[in-house]
């Protein structure tokens, strides 16, 4: 077992290898927009302070989700429950309602996103060449259940301070390719 924040985090984005080490950082938000967890493995450049950074990330996801749902050309179902607000961008939705996106990619990174029906949002930012991480995010959700939710000392809705969760997360994230 290694201590988290170990010395194998290099200062520059490493080339993707089979052994992983592709993750840059991860955010976990709850339904109220509280950043429960922020982990950073490889992020040489910071442009904002932590609080602004978290808020910007949450705001982006919120808007992007709203956009993807409103642009959906296929489903009637989305509009039935809030038929009054049909077509209005930014109208509140029930968590999990409507279609959503699961990742986007830029030339320098890939952002993968998962939202559970309970409103938990897990965001993982990795090297742009990483594959489909939906299963990985599910696995991380399971780690969260085992190490955070089942921890009786943890107060729901509070920032996560569970060493065991961080350790197992760091270990798992190293294996992502």
């Amino acid at each position: 077992m290694q201590f988290f924040g170990g010395s194998d985090i290099s200062p520059s984005p490493p080339a993707p290898t089979a052994s992983g080490n592709n993750a840059h950082m991860m955010y976990v938000f709850n339904r109220n927009g509280v950043c429960l967890l922020y982990r950073e493995w490889n992020r040489p450049l910071h442009t904002l302070n932590a609080q602004q950074d978290h808020k910007l990330m949450f705001g982006l996801l919120f808007s992007l989700k709203s956009l993807t749902a409103k642009m959906d050309p296929t489903s009637f179902e989305n509009h039935e429950m809030c038929s009054l607000d049909k077509g209005n961008l930014g109208v509140p939705q029930l968590p999990g309602q409507g279609c959503s996106f699961h990742s986007f990619r830029t030339n320098t990174y890939k952002l993968s996103f998962m939202e559970t029906p309970s409103g938990l949002k897990i965001i993982l930012i990795t090297h742009p060449k990483t594959g489909d991480l939906r299963e990985s995010l599910k696995y991380i959700y399971n780690l969260y259940v085992e190490y955070v939710v089942k921890n009786p000392i943890y107060t729901p809705g509070a920032p996560i301070r569970c060493e065991l969760f961080n350790t197992s997360l760091d270990q798992y994230v190293r294996s992502i390719s």
Binding site: N32, K55, G59, L94, G96, T116, P117, G119, L120, Y141
Partner: protein
């Protein structure tokens, strides 16, 4: 990627670690007993059990979602089915059925096939007002609140009070939409 089919409650129940049923039943009994001693009023005990259940429910929902692969339910009917068929099976090891729907589909009853909490239990005369299993109603209420459904959960039939089944009434009060949590000027 096609959506993964929800796992059955049986499969999940079989895959987790179990404790001895008597230990479970007796532990719960000891908790209720202690609450009766501490709080004295039966009404207070009902409230406390409900609150304890609520606290469990808000955590349990994540385990339920993570293990069952249940994604969003289309309507309250599907939700009730998921609780009865998967939820109760997964955590208590008992099945349940959904009945008594009202006309607009916002109120229904969940009838338990069996209730492992009440083995060895008889209510004495002094505790006739006690809802012995009130923790369960709290769990359902807490779990549903975390998926944006405000509900009211009450016992309508309780075998400890001489009825012929355990029946929980779940009434949907409102669904809470997700709103942007920050103010613009923050």
């Amino acid at each position: 990627m096609a959506p993964v089919a929800p796992r059955s409650g049986d499969a999940i129940f079989a895959s987790v670690e179990h404790v001895n049923a008597e230990l479970f039943t007796l532990t719960y009994g000891a908790i209720v007993r202690q609450l009766l001693t501490d709080l004295e009023e039966v009404e207070e005990v009902n409230k406390q059990l409900d609150q304890m259940g609520y606290n469990i429910g808000v955590r349990l929902i994540d385990e339920f979602l993570a293990k069952s692969n249940v994604s969003r339910c289309v309507d309250f009917k599907e939700t009730a089915d998921a609780i009865a068929k998967i939820g109760f099976k997964m955590f208590l090891g008992v099945g349940a059925s959904v009945t008594n729907w009202d006309a607009d589909g916002t109120c229904c009853s969940i009838v338990l096939d069996d209730n492992p909490l009440v083995d060895f239990v008889e209510l004495p005369d002094t505790c006739q007002g006690l809802y012995y299993c009130n923790i369960l109603s709290g769990v359902v209420r807490g779990a549903l609140e975390m998926v944006s459904m405000k509900t009211e959960v009450t016992w309508v039939r309780d075998m400890l009070r001489g009825d012929d089944a355990f029946e929980l009434q779940v009434k949907l009060l409102k669904q809470v939409p997700e709103e942007y949590p920050y103010k613009d000027d923050e």
